[in-house]
């Protein structure tokens, strides 16, 4: 290498992109290939120019908690957003643990963003309160451009708003309303949708109570040739024969019900479309009706049997015919035997969910799922990425097996049911350590046990081997504050934590939060709460909101969305990073401790 070494100043200029050497358009193009939000975040910190380019080229943002930032700030930061996702109520709302008046109102977001965000064409609201007025405002501002509208476990609106959407949003490709609480003012909305839309790809009003006319569904199938996915509320399958015949492109269907159980002849004529590979709903389907889906079982990639009446034996029989399953959702009536069949048959399985059946022995075949079934699945289904299981019994060995065989595991959730008095092998310290050490791709983890299920040492293991886990739900773990602190000291990447039914003090919770550098959200219920939450102030710091629901008997009178009283009377803590300061719309039972 001859010549002089170039002066450092000149060298850096030659290498720098920030000084006009590379045109803006080129940078924009490069940025378009950068999708991951963390990468984008890093890029935006390089220099002002890059920050501006990121701001203008960012297409999608997910706001993990709607009180973490104000709409106006988001607008200023990303004026050209095309897609926005907002999450509201804590996850526990899906389990009836959060009163309806918690908040998470869509109104300020729609009011401040719908009009100014010129490029917005996709909106996803999850667990938020959305009114008809909010939807009307959204439609007025964005109706002509809206392609994706997802109201996911939301409440507060009616079918009138859906009519408006159906009439005005003619570019709508995806309408998602799964598990929303919707006031049913009539089924015209579906008729309007069928008449006004010809590009719909996915319609989902699964797990809602909306009543619709099968004729409107047939019309929809006729007009929307590209309809690939329909997940609907309960409707007898025999009424859907026409729709299923018309919708030739359909690949996913959920929501048919078997109201006339025992009368197979009603359902003989049900023929699913030729490309069908996802079946769900099938409410009340029993052994006699099962043959309806046999002709399609070999093609099925996703199967949801959570709402069927199948016995353990029925599960065995059906699943043995489904070697191509990627996703399987069942209740624990599937039993260990059913899981053995899964392990033998479903070699490509990626996601497995085993939900909790009825506790009443008169209602449901008892037996449940244990370490035997879990091990069989682990050994047989090496491609598993997601396992969620409510088990009646468990051993360290089963957890070790999962760690050994399921190397692709990304999301693992285990709940130990409380029916069985004696569990084979507790505490689960060693098992969970083996699982966490071996499943290096794990990002989400839930472990819900019982007292004695995990010692302080075991809890420390979870922290120590938390790796890249970003979300955790822990219940009934540990023995003392010491365990929590040891856990916290290990969790370097944990961003969101939910704790339930634990023995920790407020002081320990606060100190633990301070140990976790990535933590931006924590929810706790069922711990050694004080009346004032005073010790929580130990974690007071800038931008960290601390909200506290004191333990009080009046909470027994809080009312949920379906009119049922709030079951839970235990104190809650919700703390999160926020740029928006104190929440302006806290309900009366939720006290903001910080900022004061």
């Amino acid at each position: 290498m001859g010549g002089e070494v170039p002066e450092p100043r000149r060298l850096s200029r030659a290498l720098s992109f920030g000084c006009g050497a590379v045109p803006e358009e080129a940078l924009h193009l490069v940025f378009c290939y950068v999708d991951d939000p963390r990468d984008r975040e890093a890029a935006s910190l390089v220099c002002r120019r890059w920050h501006r380019i990121d701001a203008l080229s960012r297409k999608h943002v997910t706001v993990g908690f709607c009180y973490a930032v104000e709409p106006a700030r988001l607008l200023a930061r990303f004026p050209r957003l095309e897609s926005l996702a907002l999450k509201g109520r804590p996850r526990a709302a899906m389990y009836g643990l959060i009163p309806e008046d918690f908040g998470a109102y869509a109104a300020p977001w729609v009011a401040q963003l719908a009009a100014p965000l010129d490029c917005l064409k996709a909106l996803h609201l999850r667990r938020m309160t959305v009114t008809d007025q909010d939807i009307a405002m959204l439609v007025r501002a964005r109706g002509h451009m809206l392609q994706v509208l997802k109201l996911d476990k939301c409440s507060g609106f009616s079918t009138d708003a859906l009519r408006l959407v159906a009439r005005s949003c003619r570019s709508l490709r995806t309408l998602f309303l799964e598990e929303c609480t919707i006031a049913d003012e009539g089924s015209e909305w579906l008729h309007e949708l069928a008449v006004n839309n010809s590009v719909l790809v996915s319609l989902n009003f699964y797990m809602t109570e909306l009543k619709v006319e099968p004729a409107d569904l047939e019309l929809l199938a006729k007009n929307c040739k590209s309809l690939i996915s329909l997940k609907m509320s309960e409707c007898d399958l025999s009424d859907l024969i026409g729709f299923l015949q018309t919708s030739k492109a359909l690949q996913e269907f959920a929501g048919g019900a078997f109201f006339e159980v025992g009368e197979y002849t009603n359902y003989e004529k049900v023929k699913f479309p030729p490309r069908l590979c996802f079946l769900g709903g099938l409410t009340f389907m029993g052994k006699n009706e099962m043959p309806v889906i046999f002709p399609y079982s070999a093609m099925l990639k996703k199967l949801d049997l959570q709402y069927t009446f199948l016995t353990t034996e029925d599960h065995c029989q059906l699943i043995a015919k489904c070697p191509n399953l990627l996703v399987l959702e069942v209740r624990n009536v599937i039993g260990d035997r059913g899981l053995e069949v899964v392990g033998d048959t479903c070699k490509k399985l990626r996601r497995l969910r085993i939900e909790r059946g009825d506790d009443d022995p008169g209602q449901e075949e008892q037996g449940g799922v244990s370490q035997i079934g879990l091990t069989a699945v682990a050994v047989g289904c090496r491609e598993l990425e997601y396992i969620a299981a409510y088990v009646s019994d468990i051993t360290n060995g089963a957890l070790e097996s999962i760690g050994t065989f399921c190397k692709n595991l990304y999301d693992f959730r285990l709940v130990l049911l409380d029916k069985q008095k004696k569990i084979t092998d507790l505490p689960l310290d060693n098992g969970v350590r083996a699982l966490l050490r071996n499943c290096t791709k794990l990002r989400r983890f839930a472990f819900y046990l019982r007292p004695g299920g995990l010692s302080d040492v075991g809890l420390g293991y979870i922290g120590l081997h938390s790796g890249n886990i970003q979300y955790m739900l822990l219940g009934n773990v540990g023995e003392s504050d010491s365990g929590l602190i040891q856990f916290a000291m290990g969790c370097t990447k944990l961003r969101k934590l939910e704790l339930r039914s634990c023995c920790f003090s407020e002081r320990a919770l606060a100190v633990a939060v301070l140990q976790m550098p990535s933590l931006r959200y924590i929810w706790v219920q069922g711990y050694r709460a004080s009346q004032t939450g005073q010790d929580l102030m130990l974690m007071a710091r800038p931008y960290w909101n601390i909200e506290f629901a004191p333990p009080c008997p009046e909470s027994a009178y809080r009312v949920m969305a379906d009119g049922q009283p709030c079951v839970d009377t235990y104190a809650q803590v919700l703390a999160y990073y926020s740029l928006a300061g104190r929440r302006p719309d806290c309900p009366q039972w939720l006290v903001t401790l910080h900022p004061a």
Partner: protein, 218 residues
């Protein structure tokens, strides 16, 4: 338990004391310090507060009062006749260490029935940000008021066994979607006639297992 003293210096020289268990590996002899300068003796401002626990080797210690050291975030641990000094310990970590020690001590105390005295875990007032003015008042156990040796007072702040009984109170919550399905199924069984000509099952899989909701002509 042996005499331990903890000493954290902050910018505003707030004085905090607690007892804690030794957790660190290295042990220096008394009098030898890892740090160089001499003014980093364990210092206390205000009342000296030292408590010892009788566990065979009672050890009293009243440390001399003098001005606080200049080093802010320094942690000094006395344990078993040795002293360790750590610089630049962030306040959160220090609190965590104290909490672990306190909980472990309490747990050990409940386990050992022979223990005559238990050191009540005492949490310092918290100041995460040095500039913070407000420190929450934490309840202090009565024995800390005195400077004398406290013996024969089993004082447990955290009783693990009784606390863990609290845990069992919360029922495992059920997801809404499943809940609705199970309720519908119950309603259905109640409302259906018991004499519909449904096929009966092929027999019980095993004793004690009930066949599900299909109507049986029983």
């Amino acid at each position: 338990m042996d005499l331990l003293e903890r000493n954290i210096k902050k910018g505003d020289t707030e004085e905090e004391k607690a007892r804690k268990e030794e957790e660190r590996k290295e042990v220096d002899e008394v009098g030898e310090r890892k740090t160089k300068t001499q003014d980093q003796e364990p210092q206390q401002q205000g009342q000296g507060l030292s408590l010892s626990l009788a566990n065979g080797s009672a050890r009293s210690g009243m440390l001399p009062m003098s001005n606080p050291s200049a080093n802010p975030a320094q942690l000094t641990i006395f344990y078993g006749g040795s002293v360790c000094v750590y610089d630049s310990v962030p306040p959160e970590k220090a609190q965590a260490i104290m909490l672990i020690a306190a909980a472990a001590a309490a747990a050990a105390a409940t386990k050992s029935s022979a223990a005559t005295a238990v050191k009540p875990p005492m949490m310092p007032t918290a100041t995460v940000a040095p500039a913070a003015v407000v420190s929450p008042v934490l309840t202090r156990s009565p024995s800390l008021q005195s400077t004398s040796v406290a013996t024969g007072q089993p004082q447990v702040v955290a009783d693990p066994s009784s606390i863990c009984k609290l845990q069992a109170d919360l029922p495992i919550a059920r997801r809404h979607s499943l809940q609705r399905f199970l309720e519908k199924r119950r309603d259905r069984i109640v409302s259906k006639t018991p004499y519909s000509p449904a096929k009966s099952s092929d027999g019980m899989e095993s004793p004690g297992m009930e066949v599900t909701a299909e109507l049986k002509a029983q």
